[in-house]
């Protein structure tokens, strides 16, 4: 079994986001970048399948600027076998990313594609579903538990009502929740070893797919700020304020 994992480079989740004054976006200069957190879960799940003997090869892929290669390197350092970097100079929307991934998948023919359920920069929650749809494959979104069988995967999904279990035919797309597993850290020797693993570079605009963006970002602004409130000294004061001042109880 062959597995592809899609990893995206995003602003680290601990960074305090700062909106640019001119409304064109958020500051990214000298800002710490990391792998999109659920993508680490996606890599972990793939590597676990390899370790258990179910999977033969794990390929990590990213679409993005030169630096995005770091995300693939990180995946290689925790156990992926090889990487693919599809170079793109500007931001590509989920639909474009899905088309690029489809193109690569047609060549690589993986049995499972693991992805994050959501990128924490654009918060789109689309790419996996779009890819799955373009390929005509089944999808297991928001996965918090999976069981890989010969021709199918049983996926436990986190849904608003609780949990849902479905069984999807292979090949399939699985989008991972943070609860799917506990991603491992890369050891120093493995980081060194990963430097020798191959990363193939492709150029997005040479792949022959339409990656034009359809959504224009007109303005990015700060959300309205909440006024800081007061501290209360006692529970009795809190309850009295909630009742008489805020009038919410």
């Amino acid at each position: 079994m062959k597995i592809l994992v899609a990893v995206k480079r995003v602003i680290d989740y601990n960074v305090q986001i700062r909106v640019k004054e001119d409304g064109t976006g958020v500051h990214t200069d000298n800002v710490k970048m990391s792998n999109n957190p659920p993508d680490d879960n996606a890599v972990e799940e793939a590597v676990k399948l390899k370790e258990s003997g179910k999977a033969k090869e794990v390929i990590a892929i990213t679409v993005g600027e030169e630096k995005a290669q770091d995300t693939v390197r990180k995946a290689l350092a925790v156990g992926a076998d090889r990487g693919i970097h599809v170079k793109a100079d500007n931001y590509i929307e989920p639909l474009g990313v899905a088309k690029i991934l489809k193109k690569v998948i047609e060549k690589e023919k993986p049995d499972i594609v693991f992805m994050g359920k959501q990128a924490i920069d654009d918060d789109c929650n689309q790419t996996g579903q779009m890819l799955s749809s373009l390929l005509g494959w089944a999808q297991g979104t928001f996965a918090s538990k999976i069981e890989v069988k010969d021709k199918s995967i049983q996926v436990t999904r986190e849904v608003d009502e609780g949990l849902e279990t479905i069984e999807i035919n292979l090949p399939a797309i699985v989008t991972c929740d943070l609860r799917l597993n506990e991603p491992r850290y890369a050891s120093l020797p493995n980081i060194m070893k990963a430097k020798k693993k191959p990363i193939e570079q492709l150029i997005a605009k040479d792949l022959g797919v339409d990656i034009s963006n359809r959504i224009q970002q007109l303005k990015v602004e700060e959300p309205p700020k909440r006024k800081g409130g007061v501290k209360v000294a006692t529970v009795a004061e809190l309850v009295s304020k909630l009742k008489n001042e805020a009038k919410v109880i």
């Binding site: 602003i11 989740y13 909106v19 958020v26 989920p94 639909l95 359920k117 920069d121 918060d123 789109c124 929650n125 790419t127 996996g128 579903q129 779009m130 749809s133 005509g136 089944a138 999808q139 979104t141 928001f142 918090s144 986190e158 849904v159 608003d160 609780g162 949990l163 849902e164 279990t165 479905i166 999807i168 035919n169 399939a172 943070l178 609860r179 339409d210 359809r214 959504i215 224009q216 970002q217 007109l218 990015v220 602004e221 700060e222 959300p223 909440r226 800081g228 409130g229 007061v230 501290k231 529970v235 009795a236 809190l238 309850v239 304020k241 909630l242 009742k243 805020a246 919410v248 109880i249």
Partner: protein, 317 residues
């Protein structure tokens, strides 16, 4: 222009976030049709027909639609799409699951999780866990949109009499199968729509200690929420999680107990009208957005809180 809203339901009843999607649709055009795809879902179709903003209900029945598998309902929506300029659903786990499938097949870049409609092609949406708001314009001919239900009013539910049109089901790819659903049953109001929410975090220390939260929830007729840390630790089930990767809530009163206030948690609750924080660490970031902060040990404060509430003679609803 005409808008197709995809109804969320459990084959018996309409799920209320559909009403927010219908309301959002009404800000785009008055010609609103609603698709009810289900199995033995006549009652849902009737409920939708009674919503005055709805012009027509498209009702399609098939056992294949019973569990709303994305692979199964997508071909039906794609087939209907040619008649509409906008396709809308709520940005909850229902809408997020199938809408991108539909959008990709129509070669449309979906606009996710919008909180405001400026014009039929221009929308406001939070990015970076709500730390920035982006105004975006879709240049696709047709739009696939998911709306954040808590950011739109709920459409009135009675007085309408829309026509119900039967729609044939469409072949499905037969690649996915529903196995089971484990729903957390509760007598309390739903997290997404409750007027009061009380949430516990890692500071609760155990699932058992959530009884302190539950007692206050019962008293205030509140829903119970949680931070991701509390869910990860197994104190409470995933459907209670509030935040960037959980649910978004906008209650009149949100009480955060033993929650530090990470941006990912704030993303799900900072629009609440009144925020209360109970935390023993006076420096916890949650205090910077709380209207009322109580620096205290929750194991002392929660029983006192309950006792004070019991002293009030008001009837809660």
């Amino acid at each position: 222009m005409s808008v197709l809203v995809i109804a969320e339901h459990n084959n018996l009843n309409l799920k209320i976030f559909t009403l927010n999607a219908i309301f959002a649709a009404s800000q785009i055009d008055t010609n609103i049709h609603v698709l009810v795809a289900g199995n033995k879902s006549e009652n849902v179709a009737k409920e939708v027909a009674a919503v005055p903003l709805v012009k027509k209900v498209l009702h399609s029945e098939s056992t294949n639609y019973e569990n709303y598998l994305a692979e199964n309902i997508t071909p039906l929506i794609v087939k209907l799409a040619e008649n509409y300029t906008h396709i809308i659903a709520s940005a909850n786990t229902f809408g997020k699951n199938f809408m991108p499938r539909v959008a990709a097949l129509l070669d449309i870049s979906q606009v996710s999780d919008i909180i405001k409609i400026s014009s039929p092609d221009t929308f406001l949406r939070p990015i970076y866990a709500g730390n920035a708001f982006a105004t975006v314009k879709s240049n696709d001919k047709k739009k696939c949109i998911t709306i954040r239900p808590t950011s739109f009013d709920s459409a009135p539910t009675s007085g309408g009499s829309a026509q119900i049109e039967k729609i044939n089901s469409v072949n499905i790819p037969n690649i996915s199968k529903f196995i089971k659903r484990e729903e957390t049953k509760s007598e309390r109001p739903e997290l997404g729509t409750a007027r009061v929410v009380i949430s516990g975090g890692r500071g609760m220390q155990s699932g058992d200690n959530f009884k302190l939260i539950n007692a206050i929830a019962d008293k205030l007729n509140a829903a119970v929420g949680a931070s991701r840390a509390a869910v990860d630790a197994g104190y409470i089930s995933n459907d209670h999680q509030v935040g960037q990767t959980g649910k978004v809530v906008v209650p009149d009163l949100y009480i955060a107990v033993g929650i530090s206030g990470a941006i990912q948690h704030l993303a799900g609750m900072k629009e609440s009208k009144i925020i209360v924080a109970i935390n023993k660490d006076g420096e916890a970031p949650i205090f910077s957005i709380a209207d009322y902060g109580l620096e205290a040990d929750l194991f002392k404060a929660l029983p006192e809180f309950l006792a004070e509430l019991n002293k009030l003679n008001t009837i809660q609803n």
